[in-house]
């Protein structure tokens, strides 16, 4: 198989994701496997590079949250096929994020964007929705063996529920098990530091970069 043919297969995979076409992405992923292209290269150059393009498109207003959802579906489907051909001992499991808007707060827009950025950035995402109690965050994070708990609030008065999550983690001896990142309209870097969060993002773009830094994930 020539380099050109390999590159073509990877481009097809990337294009299928950028066209939000799950079936095409699965077919392209299968072709990658059939052509014996290194699946880890395919994941990086075909799948995750698509997510960078998608995030840039979103920032420019050329695509919207539903597109990130569909792209995420395509990426997951393709990723499943590619990972099946990676020897088990070489598989780096996906990083897991549990995300939600804190208790007594119903705002969801910013949280939805961050969730979609995470998903299309290759994370496994569990979105708990809005008005989420601290215990629910911790319970889900424990059940899914999460890496990150991501908290959103848009009311100044619901910010303390972010602190409650961190305090509850400490009280049950789980603080060191999860990284906590926070964001939302009234949230500042100073607030994040005050409550002992591990990271803060001004927006979804920064949030995901901060998450990657905290987890030691480089590049894509």
């Amino acid at each position: 198989m020539t380099n050109g043919e390999n590159q073509g297969a990877l481009e097809n995979l990337k294009d299928a994701i950028l066209q939000y076409d799950t079936e095409a992405a699965k077919a392209a992923a299968q072709k990658v496997v059939d052509q014996k292209i290194d699946p880890k290269i395919a994941i990086n150059e075909g799948v995750l590079s698509a997510s960078t393009i998608l995030h840039e498109r979103f920032e420019r207003g050329e695509c919207f949250i539903p597109h990130l959802v569909m792209a995420g579906d395509a990426m997951e489907a393709a990723g499943y096929i590619l990972e099946a051909s990676i020897p088990k001992e070489q598989i780096t499991s996906k990083k897991v994020v549990v995300i939600g808007t804190v208790e007594a707060d119903l705002h969801s827009v910013g949280k939805n964007i961050v969730a979609m950025f995470f998903r299309s950035g290759g994370f496994e995402v569990h979105d708990l929705g809005v008005n989420v109690k601290a215990s629910s965050f911790i319970s889900k994070a424990t059940d899914t063996n999460a890496d990150i708990i991501a908290l959103s609030s848009l009311l100044t008065t619901t910010r303390p529920y972010m602190r409650e999550v961190i305090e509850e983690l400490e009280s049950v001896g789980l603080r060191d098990k999860f990284k906590v990142i926070v964001g939302g309209g009234p949230i500042t870097r100073e607030w994040a530091q005050e409550i002992g969060a591990d990271g803060y993002g001004t927006d979804a773009y920064e949030g995901i970069e901060v998450a990657k830094q905290i987890l030691g994930i480089s590049g894509n």
Partner: protein, 457 residues
């Protein structure tokens, strides 16, 4: 009109649907309606404000179809509330185009305006903004002193009487205190009957309704903010609050603007949701005064100043609502820059002019990422009144007004939002006037607007 108890029952008995499925189904449905009704997207050749009256009826029908054919989603129960076309259209017919708010000599009629209408606008100068307890009554007094204020919305704060506001009991106490400080503020302004609208400390029903008290709290003629959530969603705390309000004669307001970039899609889809959402607020929460229009999910973080296609999309939404419904539209004039800055006043002016022409009234919430005591000052509200009056006096219509707005928008292109100042830094709350520096900026902005064709007495 369908009763709120009917709505409550349907939230319990409607078909179950996972929320993720609802979201994507909504996106597909809106896409179908955009195609069916040939709702265009904005291009560089589209006028700044909508001039196509034929489009408005199609947009209205698309908004009605969205509710009738797709329903409304209750996030508390995970069920779909179905509504018939007759129920929706009956609500459209029977809702009032004016309501009386406040009491006594301070009572005011909130009225629906007309597109390119000549009537003066109803106005709320704030707050929807965080202020500390020590400033609360004097801040409220300053805003209530603006003569054209028709009602005033509450504010958020993080401590009450030395306690952090945390947990339902203290949240409920804070809710009552918000109203008592607001009542004190409007009394100090000589307007004891001015309508007050509760801004949610949190969105629990027990917190929202804790402030209802005919003696010391919210009374008949006052209101509560009960917003329909993005993506055509309702929930039980807000519905319960709406039901309680009915008994007490309290009116409601909903933040009913759509969010372009979310599950409604682009500007075309946001227009459809921008119609459906206030209709949903009316039917499900009995809201007659709505903050209407279109915002952008990306500008919630205030990293850039939103211009087109939002100006055009907002014009389509407000024009449609004013032509085909009785909904009383309040333009949600939310700048990305902070108070005390030129950019803030230019953003405010641009959206005020467009609101006036499109038939909306005026509402001045804080800027997008307001921090404590740094969300707004009375200057923005006063400028909004002056600008809207000047717009009316100049006889700006959609076409000529669009040219003025195009020139004004050019001043904002390429700028990044300025963080702004706290109210204490740029405003003298004792003497009710801006700081000398802020006054200079305010006068300079008025000068710029004068050069564009607006004249001020």
């Amino acid at each position: 009109m369908i009763s709120l108890l009917d709505i409550a029952e349907r939230t319990q008995k409607g078909r179950k649907m996972p929320e993720d499925d609802w979201n994507m189904s909504l996106f597909r449905k809106i896409g179908e309606l955009v195609k069916k009704y040939k709702i265009p997207n904005y291009t560089k050749d589209t006028p700044f404000l909508n001039l196509d009256d034929d489009l408005l009826e199609r947009v209205f029908n698309a908004g009605v179809d969205l509710i009738v054919e797709h329903g409304v989603y209750c996030i508390t129960t995970g069920r779909v509330v179905e509504l018939s076309r007759e129920e929706v259209l009956q609500a459209v017919r029977e809702s009032p185009s004016e309501i009386l708010v406040g009491t006594g000599k301070d009572a005011r009629w909130m009225k629906q305006r007309k597109v390119e209408g000549k009537e003066k606008l109803n106005f709320c100068p704030g707050h929807h903004s965080p202020f500390t307890q020590d400033l609360a009554p004097i801040v409220v007094k300053n805003f209530a002193q603006i003569p054209r204020t028709d009602f005033i919305e509450g504010f958020n704060f993080t401590e009450v009487d030395g306690y952090e506001i945390f947990g339902a009991p203290i949240e409920a106490y804070a809710s009552r205190k918000q109203i008592s400080w607001m009542r004190e503020g409007v009394r100090k302004a000589g307007r004891p009957g001015l309508a007050i609208v509760l801004y949610p400390i949190t969105t629990r029903a027990e917190v929202l309704t804790a402030a209802i008290d005919p003696v010391d709290g919210l009374r008949s003629g006052d209101g509560i903010l009960t917003s329909v959530l993005p993506d055509e969603k309702i929930e039980h705390d807000l519905l319960a609050t709406a039901i309680a309000c009915e008994d007490h004669g309290l009116w409601r307001i909903s933040g009913s603007f759509s969010m372009m970039g979310g599950f409604c899609g682009g500007a075309d889809g946001a227009i459809v949701e921008g119609i459906a959402k206030p209709l949903t607020a009316m039917i499900c929460y009995r809201v007659y005064v709505n903050y209407t229009g279109v915002e952008n999910v990306r500008t919630v973080s205030a990293l850039s100043i939103p211009l087109q296609p939002l100006n055009w999309a907002r014009s389509v939404v407000n024009q449609t609502l004013n032509r085909f419904t009785n909904i009383i539209c309040m333009a949600w004039i939310i700048p990305t820059s902070g108070p005390g800055t030129e950019t803030h006043l230019l953003e405010t002016s641009l959206r005020t002019i467009e609101a006036t022409i499109n038939g909306a009234n005026l509402y001045a919430p804080r800027h997008s990422r307001a921090q404590m005591n740094a969300g707004q000052t009375p200057v923005e509200g006063e400028l909004m009144v002056e600008v809207s009056d000047a717009t009316l006096a100049a006889g700006l219509d959609r076409k000529y007004g669009g040219e003025v707005l195009t020139s004004l928008a050019k001043k904002l292109e390429g700028r990044t939002p300025e963080p702004g100042f706290t109210i204490q830094e740029c405003y003298d709350l004792v003497n009710h006037k801006p700081s000398p520096e802020f006054e200079k900026i305010y006068k300079d902005v008025k000068g710029q607007l004068t050069e564009l064709g607006l004249s001020f007495p």
